[in-house]
């Protein structure tokens, strides 16, 4: 079974601040790390390999330094990796990211299962998985909370829905986005880290893309434009409520209703 895990490098903390004057994100020295949600996807891939055999590959799109997340994945047990990087890919939104990733995946090989994290801790859209699946024309299942079994021609998984758990079979090739806590991610192994620190990775740039239309990548290929970024205006009022218990109950009730905790 050939398994691919998509991993993204994100800022080390999501406690970012916005420069009041310029409206630009202050990424003051915040070091980078693998998107924590992707650890669960990677662990899922490794478990599948251990149980059913095959290989686990990892792929990331980002600036050159994003390759460190590939090596982090190697030290956890991934077999090989590819970095998609090019100035032309900069400033991508979900659509352009998904297009670049899906082109990179096609270049990297044929996979039975593609795994994504539920979402990232920076852009936080949870949209890249389904968009990549659409562009590769494969079925996708999101919010996977459990792998039931692998069959000859597909995988049976549990999808977490609001009121129920749907057990579905997706035929190969398919894409899954997995929930946090599907499996506890393993720690990187020091030995593996030493063995793999010089490992070769594939590097793909614009010239490796099948689709050579520059207008489809990076900022050019991004239909959404972030106009401005600002700190959330806290609606955190501080109110001191006093009165008879009847008045107070009415006041609490009214506020809960206004804030939609009670329908009415």
């Amino acid at each position: 079974m050939k398994i691919l895990v998509c991993i993204k490098q994100v800022p080390g903390t999501n406690k970012v601040e916005v420069d009041e004057k310029t409206g630009v994100l202050k990424r003051n020295g915040a070091d980078s790390k693998m998107n924590p949600y992707d650890l669960y996807a990677l662990e899922t891939g490794l478990r599948l390999k251990e149980k059913y055999g095959g290989t686990v590959s990892v792929i990331t799109m980002g600036p050159p330094q994003a390759k460190t997340v590939l090596y982090e994945a190697f030290s956890m047990g991934a077999d090989d990796g590819a970095l998609i990087t090019d100035r032309k890919f900069g400033g991508a939104d979900v659509l352009a990211t998904s297009r670049t990733l899906s082109q990179g995946i096609k270049k990297f090989g044929k996979f039975d299962i593609i795994l994504c994290g539920l979402q990232t801790t920076d852009g936080d859209t949870a949209q890249v998985g389904p968009e990549v699946a659409e562009m590769l024309d494969v079925p996708n299942v999101c919010n996977v909370q459990k792998i039931e079994r692998v069959e000859k021609d597909g995988i049976v998984v549990d999808m977490d829905m609001p009121h129920d758990i749907e057990t579905v079979k997706a035929s190969f090739p398919c894409l899954l986005t997995v929930q946090k806590d599907i499996y506890q991610p393993r720690l990187p192994s020091y030995l593996r880290k030493k063995e793999t620190m010089k490992k070769d990775i594939d590097i793909y740039t614009f010239s490796d893309m099948q689709d050579q239309d520059e207008m489809k990548y990076g900022l050019n290929g991004s239909p959404t434009n972030v106009q401005r970024i600002f700190p959330p205006v806290s609606d955190k009022v501080q109110e001191y409520l006093e009165g008879t218990s009847d008045e107070l109950a009415a006041k609490i009730y009214g506020t809960l209703k206004q804030k939609k905790f009670i329908a009415g």
Partner: protein, 340 residues
């Protein structure tokens, strides 16, 4: 670099709401979106559409008209009984090709959050995730505001040169319109060939979920502190939590007394929670407790001591005896309105 050709925005008209439902039971976020769509559509003088996809749902379509849809497009087929992403995407795509709406709003539910991106990718259009504020410009550009970085920043996003514009919107953010007895809208069937409803995903079984019992992911939490005098009085706390569709939790002393499950302790040596609403009852507000809950969106604190330090953390500091005010609040909720 090259300049992209400008699209003709006048060719794309109307605000569409995707009808989120399970077995025909319409998710309330749908009505909230209809309310917002009406407001946006009025600004640009365009119609509001609802797109309703499923099996045996016809009898529910009428309801959408009462909430202000000008037209409900419905695709009702047995193949659409379960949410199957490829089939639903195909129906959605047929709708877009036929109607060419300017904007599409989808609830940020587990269904909407996987369906919308597939549709957006098929049309090569922009999709803004989890919007909390929406507005529209005269030229029909949707102004989409959303939190990112775990809510630490807000971003204002436009989709200036692509149609349809798509956005997912969080539940309980927009206001649902009032039910209107007078209906002016109409219902129209959306024809889709069986060929388009094929799927490479097979639904093998559906298991009803047990009600979530952990406090970690709860939206609403009611906390009992030492101001609750007897174990039996926890019933009152439970009743309030139930009425609000939430969970109960406690401070450490109640866990130590064996009144509460350790999994329900909030604080430094317990769980960290980030609910939308937390109501503390008879909690003093020690630093160890507050560390586990001060990121809650809305904090009510009920305490009889006006100097209780929990009042510094609370958005609503309620100086009262919990034994007086909670029974009255419970009574009001019971008679006043149903819980969402």
């Amino acid at each position: 670099g090259q300049k992209k050709a400008q699209i003709d925005k006048t060719k794309w008209r109307g605000i569409t709401v995707y009808v989120d439902h399970v077995d025909g039971v319409i998710h309330p976020v749908t009505y909230e979106l209809l309310g917002k769509a009406k407001e946006l559509a009025a600004k640009i003088k365009q119609p509001v559409y609802a797109l309703f996809i499923g099996s045996s749902i016809k009898h529910k379509a009428e309801e959408l008209l009462h909430y202000g849809a000008d037209k409900v497009y419905i695709c009702d087929k047995p193949q659409l009984e379960y949410f199957k992403i490829e089939a639903y995407t195909s129906v959605f795509a047929e709708f877009i090709k036929k109607i060419k709406p300017a904007a599409i709003l989808v609830g940020a539910t587990p269904v909407g959050r996987q369906l919308a991106p597939r549709v957006a990718a098929r049309f090569g259009t922009g999709l803004t995730a989890d919007c909390t504020i929406l507005d529209i410009k005269e030229n029909t550009d949707l102004v989409q505001i959303r939190p990112a970085f775990g809510g630490n920043i807000m971003a204002e996003i436009l989709t200036p040169n692509t149609r349809p514009q798509m956005a997912t919107v969080r539940y309980k953010i927009m206001d649902a319109p009032k039910w209107n007895d007078v209906v002016t809208g109409t219902i129209e069937a959306l024809p889709v060939s069986d060929e388009k409803l094929k799927s490479r995903i097979e639904v093998l079984g559906v298991t009803k979920k047990e009600k979530e019992q952990t406090i970690d992911g709860a939206d609403v939490i009611v906390v009992a502190g030492r101001g609750v005098k007897k174990k039996a009085d926890l019933k009152m706390i439970e009743e309030l939590a139930d009425l609000l569709g939430g969970q109960t939790a406690s401070t450490r002393p109640l866990v130590e007394a064996g009144w509460m499950d350790p999994k329900k302790q909030i604080g430094l040596s317990g769980r960290t929670v980030r609910p939308k609403l937390i109501i503390t009852c008879g909690v003093s507000g020690s630093v160890q407790f507050v560390a586990g809950m001060n990121h809650a969106d809305t904090i009510f604190a009920i305490n009889s001591d006006p100097k209780a330090s929990i009042f510094k953390t609370a958005n609503y500091a309620v100086k009262a005896d919990l034994y007086d005010v909670i029974p009255k609040l419970i009574e009001k909720i019971k008679t006043g309105g149903k819980v969402l």
